[in-house]
């Protein structure tokens, strides 16, 4: 058990004992070596199952809208939150999904989530059956092989340029010596793609999304995708075809869903990690966050009292992209 885990259990146990929260959402050990999974703790004696490691890949804010009945009853929910989870919770609060006082944020100083898919590919075509952590490396074992991997080489793309590893808003913070990434510049993640010719970019985009099987795991794993009725499910009017043999429908699904996240995405990378066909959705949403920063100097989920960037208007907002007389 590491220091962070110990502290999490301590805080969680106390909160439940004092009946300050109805439920704590955290992580437990999964059934696969490279996975920790969301868990729901309601009794103080259950806190022993809470864990923390670099495989806690889900954004737990996604579960809050499922607990409408708790929120409506005025209950409080505790969330074990990484930097990105906390920012998603703030977005929720800004958008009136939950009230600030109904969420107890147990902040974790996150050193970045490891990219399960990239680690699995190290073993490709084989399978990783065992993994252990040691300082800044992980040891993976499989059928007839053993590899030591440096954690920093296998961070999720989104975590490399994360600018808020430590939750910006929290009720209790688990102490940890995490340094914010120097020169965390999201622009770097899209530079290569952006430097290509438009047709080449369109080709890459199309190739990526043409693998889409419309399982909507990206949408459902996303804490900002909480619409009661998603535009893809609307039947009156039906905005989008439901087939997979139309490239355009697949492109439109990805464009519209991601654009709905403009100024709302915290770049947690949950969508890319959830995708069973390994579509690089981060490549799309990264651009939106870069533009929110560039045009409006805005970052999502920082200040509870602020409004999401596209919900507010100011006379000196950027006019980029609008028709200009020459």
């Amino acid at each position: 058990m590491n220091k962070i885990e110990k502290k999490i259990r301590e805080i969680a146990g106390k909160l439940l004992k004092d009946k300050k929260v109805k439920l704590i959402i955290g992580f437990e050990k999964g059934t696969l070596p490279l996975k920790a999974r969301p868990t729901f703790v309601r009794k103080p004696e259950e806190v022993e199952k809470l864990i923390w490691n670099p495989f806690c890949e889900n954004n737990l804010a996604v579960y809050i809208p499922f607990y409408r009945r708790y929120l409506d009853n005025g209950e409080t929910i505790g969330v074990i939150a990484k930097g990105c989870d906390a920012r998603s919770l703030i977005l929720h609060i800004q958008e009136n999904i939950e009230k600030r006082e109904q969420i107890f944020i147990i902040g974790i100083p996150c050193e970045g989530i490891l990219d399960r898919k990239r680690i699995e590919k190290e073993a490709f075509p084989g399978e990783i059956t065992e993994v252990s952590e040691k300082d800044d490396t992980i040891l993976v074992k499989g059928n007839g092989f053993e590899k030591t991997l440096k954690k920093k080489d296998f961070l999720c793309e989104d975590c490399i340029v994360c600018s808020h590893r430590k939750p910006v808003v929290y009720d209790e913070l688990v102490e940890g010596d995490v340094k914010e990434t120097e020169a965390a510049d999201r622009q770097n993640q899209i530079k290569e793609f952006e430097s290509k010719e438009p047709d080449e970019r369109w080709k890459i985009f199309t190739e990526e999304v043409s693998r889409c099987i419309r399982c909507y795991a990206c949408r459902n794993a996303c804490p900002a995708c909480y619409c009661k009725e998603c535009f893809v499910d609307c039947s009156k009017p039906q905005w989008l075809g439901t087939t997979v043999d139309s490239e355009t429908d697949l492109q439109l699904f990805q464009i519209i869903r991601t654009f709905h996240l403009a100024g709302r995405c915290v770049n947690c990378g949950s969508c890319s990690r959830a995708c069973p066909m390994d579509i690089n959705i981060s490549l799309l949403v990264n651009k939106l966050s870069v533009d929110a920063k560039r045009l409006f100097d805005y970052e999502t989920g920082i200040d509870v009292n602020e409004k999401p960037v596209l919900n507010k208007y100011s006379e000196d907002d950027s006019n980029e992209g609008f028709f200009e007389e020459h």
């Binding site: 999964g30 059934t31 696969l32 996975k35 999974r37 969301p38 868990t39 729901f40 889900n58 996604v62 579960y63 499922f66 590919k121 490709f124 075509p125 084989g126 399978e127 059956t129 059928n143 693998r211 099987i213 419309r214 399982c215 909507y216 795991a217 949408r219 459902n220 794993a221 499910d233 075809g241 439901t242 087939t243 997979v244 043999d245 949950s270 990690r273 959830a274 069973p276 066909m277 390994d278």
Partner: protein, 342 residues
């Protein structure tokens, strides 16, 4: 005179592409391909070799029998004067090369639904009848595999036409059906020793599947569990996406849509998933499966109880795809264990 042992052949690994080339003359060959370091079954391009160094494909080849999007009928004309466009397309015979035994088993499960005494789904049947299966022994089952829980196994030849085993430098090739035997006629004969090698590989594979859940009593057990609170516990972390059902080789629910442009249209069949709320949403707005636990219950009940009652077989083949790809690691093996312990 041919006796059954004569249908054991073998082929050197470097001669495989020549064999596939021969097959391609008469068949469309669908085989595993490496797509961005994961494997999918796709049609082989000219001179391309199948990618056989894989555990199992990310998606099962079920889409070649039950496509995700399939036209039922195309038509022409305006509102009340619609005429179907009838095009009798000749379908080229296909081979699915390198299909794992679990996925082959899934076809025998689907057969009972799509082709039975009361009802025949012609779309499925046509694709099924036109396809030969080259099964591929599973030398290294994954830790998430549990095919041995069912009437299958890593080297089960049931349902295949030809069965391939990777023995290191060569492929051991067995003809199972008459059609299959004919296709491999020209390959060099193998001797009895090969069978021994095969059974050694098979034993090793079987030994590596250590803890398959016992499913025998599950259908009976589920009968009394509809109202049990366990479903809320099992489904609490479920995000409600369709990964489990869309990657599952036995899930077979679909939705029918009409699409029209100008004066042409089509009626089209799409996969659908019981994990989506819209799956059961009525036109009136009534939602009989409002909560995630109801949808999870439906998925498990359908696979392990209703299907067994209707078709006398469990609708799961133990491929483990839902286990490995679920974004929140919901593990069906664990669910089965929980249920049997109740």
């Amino acid at each position: 005179m041919k006796d059954s042992s004569k249908s054991i052949k073998h082929i050197e690994k470097d001669k495989l592409s020549e064999f596939i080339k021969q097959l391609r003359k008469d068949f469309t060959v669908i085989a595993p391909r490496n797509v961005k370091d994961f494997v999918l079954f796709q049609e082989l391009k000219a001179d391309e070799e199948p990618y056989l160094d894989f555990l199992n494909s990310r998606q099962s080849p079920k889409e070649y029998f039950f496509p995700q999007t399939e036209n039922i009928v195309e038509y022409e004309g305006v509102t009340d004067k619609r005429v179907p466009i009838v095009t009798e397309k000749q379908m080229r015979k296909r081979i699915i090369f390198g299909m794992r035994p679990c996925d082959v088993t899934s076809l025998s499960i689907l057969d009972r639904l799509f082709v039975n005494e009361d009802y025949v789904d012609n779309y499925y049947k046509r694709l099924r009848d036109n396809t030969l299966i080259f099964g591929f022994g599973c030398s290294y089952p994954r830790t998430t595999c549990f095919c041995t829980s069912f009437d299958s196994g890593p080297f089960s030849t049931k349902g295949t036409d030809v069965f391939i085993t990777d023995s290191g430098d060569t492929f051991i090739i067995e003809g199972i059906t008459e059609q299959g035997k004919k296709l491999i006629e020209k390959l060099p004969d193998g001797d009895k020793k090969l069978l021994k090698t095969k059974s050694e590989i098979e034993k090793k594979a079987l030994d590596s599947i250590t803890t398959p859940p016992d499913v025998e009593k599950i259908p009976e057990k589920l009968k009394g569990l509809f109202e049990n609170p366990v479903w809320e516990v099992i489904s609490e972390r479920c995000l409600g996406c369709g990964v489990c059902t869309y990657l599952c080789p036995t899930c077979h629910c679909f939705d029918i849509q009409d699409e029209v442009i100008d004066n042409k249209g089509r009626r089209v069949k799409n996969w659908d998933s019981c994990m989506f709320p819209i799956f059961t949403l009525h036109g009136s707005g009534h939602q009989p499966r409002e909560f995630r636990f109801q949808r999870m219950r439906q998925r498990i009940m359908h696979k392990f109880n209703y299907y067994d009652e209707n078709f006398d077989i469990i609708a799961c083949c133990g491929c483990g795809r839902c286990v490995t790809e679920c974004p929140v690691n919901i593990d069906v093996r664990e669910i089965l264990r929980t249920i049997s312990e109740l």
